[in-house]
Symmetry: none
Subunit: 213 residues, 4 copies
């Protein structure tokens, strides 16, 4: 049951990358997360990987390219985490599906809070072309949430909420946790996921509301 011995950062990179390149990306994630993209030097990244400053350029075209690889692979991995094999098809109805999507989204961001910080806060350092590519992937996330919400509303299982606003709120909860989550805190990624899934459900439930007078 020792599922979690793997470093949450290292497990993000695929086999298509040379081991040294993966080491560099991992070092870059830690550097970018701590000091930001502009606050990190290529020397920081290289020496963090036990290499000379020039080594980075053997594996990547530029510092920006390193960020792009992190962002691209990070976003794809997060998407995979939501669209698990079998998906939410087997889940009976919108509430269960909302719980599933929210808890997975939150748990992934908690578990990968270091890499996710880079994916959420450093995108503005990307070149326009690279940014475009990432933005295209990112559009999937609100879409996933939106489809669940609208289905629930349409079916009458959710209160008639403004889907766009609720989706933004749900995404905010998942994204902002990379700013404050600490693995040595009280909640495991999965516990936090369950709690936030409860919040999601409460957000789409009818609320007594203030006295309508």
């Amino acid at each position: 049951m020792t599922r979690d011995v793997v470093d949450p950062v290292t497990e993000l990179w695929g086999d298509d990358l040379a081991p040294v390149a993966r080491t560099l990306l991992t070092s870059a994630v830690h550097c970018f997360a701590k000091r930001g993209f502009t606050g990190t030097t290529t020397r920081d990244v290289s020496t963090g990987a036990g290499l000379s400053p020039a080594a980075l350029y053997v594996h990547f075209r530029s510092k920006e390219d390193v960020l792009f690889e992190i962002a691209r692979r990070g976003h794809l991995r997060a998407l995979e985490a939501l669209a698990v094999p079998g998906g939410t098809a087997g889940l009976d109805g919108p509430p269960a599906r909302l719980r599933a999507v929210m808890s997975r989204f939150v748990a992934w961001h908690a578990r990968h809070h270091v890499a996710a910080r880079v994916c959420q806060y450093e995108l503005s350092a990307l070149s326009p072309e690279h940014l475009d590519e990432i933005v295209t992937i990112r559009r999937e996330f609100p879409e996933l949430f939106r489809s669940v919400i609208t289905e629930g509303v349409d079916r009458g299982e959710f209160a008639p909420v403004d889907a766009g606003r609720v989706v933004r709120a749900l995404l905010s909860l998942g994204v902002d946790l990379v700013r404050w989550y600490r693995p040595d805190g009280p909640d495991s990624p999965e516990q936090l996921g369950r709690f936030y899934a409860d919040l999601a459900v409460s957000m789409v439930s009818a609320v007594p509301g203030p006295p309508a007078g």
Copy 2:
């Protein structure tokens, strides 16, 4: 009847600062929000204020000192916005008070989303001493929310929620919106505040929940 002709950034600075110093802070807020602290040059800030690069040092000790002044004044202003004169004393009960605190918190962050971005995302560039000073101010925010939540729970007007987790979620919603809020979007700061106040209330309401079986 144009409600707000004043620039939301400029109105943050007090009369104790020379006009030129205020112009510099305003320029710095826009620069830091767009490119981050390390991605901004002192030249960017100065020329953004219509001055020579050296002028910054007539009014501030260093680039970091500029950030500190923004963070200090920004946080104090945000706190003022929550603890308005008269406060929430006249409001009848926890639900109304929760609505008041949440809507003000959210509206302030939406209205001041540019400055707030700097206050939320650039603090790690502060010196340890300056960071300490800001962190001390920041502790007030969760405290304000927590007191409302616990009172509501104690009185039985809220569901028996985990106050710490709920507070973190509420703060997250307010904070993260500085990442995506655009004033030309569909919601005014006040509208967004009301929507998020509704969400806050739903979070502390008993939820039908999944059939407890």
Copy 3:
């Protein structure tokens, strides 16, 4: 008998200067002596005199002009100290005159070691024209020594030494002491002057020498 209560630096400036200008020169001497001309800022000089940075330019044309005034007045004062009223005319013969010149030269440099350091080590920062003016004054010093030595040699009262080389050695002794002299050391300026006068005499005395074989 309280002859020496006056600050040795302040007493260098004449009545033709405004009191504030004298204060600035005094501050400049201390700054230049401690950090060198290039290592001193005009701000150092001004604030050392209790004034704002701009005040310096009310009294002097430039930082270099301050150095020039120090050098000019310093050199003239040193020259005055050697050519005392009555001079060495009343002294009977070259040995007594050599003692007089050397002891005065040394005592002046010891007493004014701070200002003298500036006069000896910072001249290269002067403009060519100003340097010329100072060099012209400086030529008097070796001349004074040389005339005493050559007279002693001609009269047969001194050994047939190479006057040029001896003069350079005597000047060196007087000049270099500004590098190490401390008023709280064992020797008063006058004591040091007497000791170096003895050395001067021994330098022009016939020495047993190494066995001429």
Copy 4:
């Protein structure tokens, strides 16, 4: 039979330094000697070595570090020049040993007058730690002279002079010459050394003195 084709500055650095580092030190010596440490820019040093401004930082940590290396190596070399293999052991008695030490000290300073100027006049620009290290080395020089003088006095071969004062005078003669010595002047380093050795001997010889009455 051209005696010295090697550049007196370049020969100071050891084989442990990369050739480029030696070139930079040589350039720095010339710059520091001419314009002083604070008056020299790192650009001056680098371009004086035929390199770009950034190249200095490939080989040295800072401008101050360059000065430290010059001072450290310069002082050690000067010490070596005095304590030659075989030393003064074979020399018969204090007078010969005094001549040897003084002439070597003077000749070294004359030959290396450019580097020595930096070693003598720019030490105040060193960091406190580096200054300490140099001061420790410097203490050897007066000690070397003092031991010769006191031995001569004790044996009765020198007049009963005040060793401390005489040592300071001898060091002054050697040090101050770096201020005025020019290789194209009348004296070669060795000639000057011999002349100053004569002066040293005369300083410790009984002098007819003024009639003791």
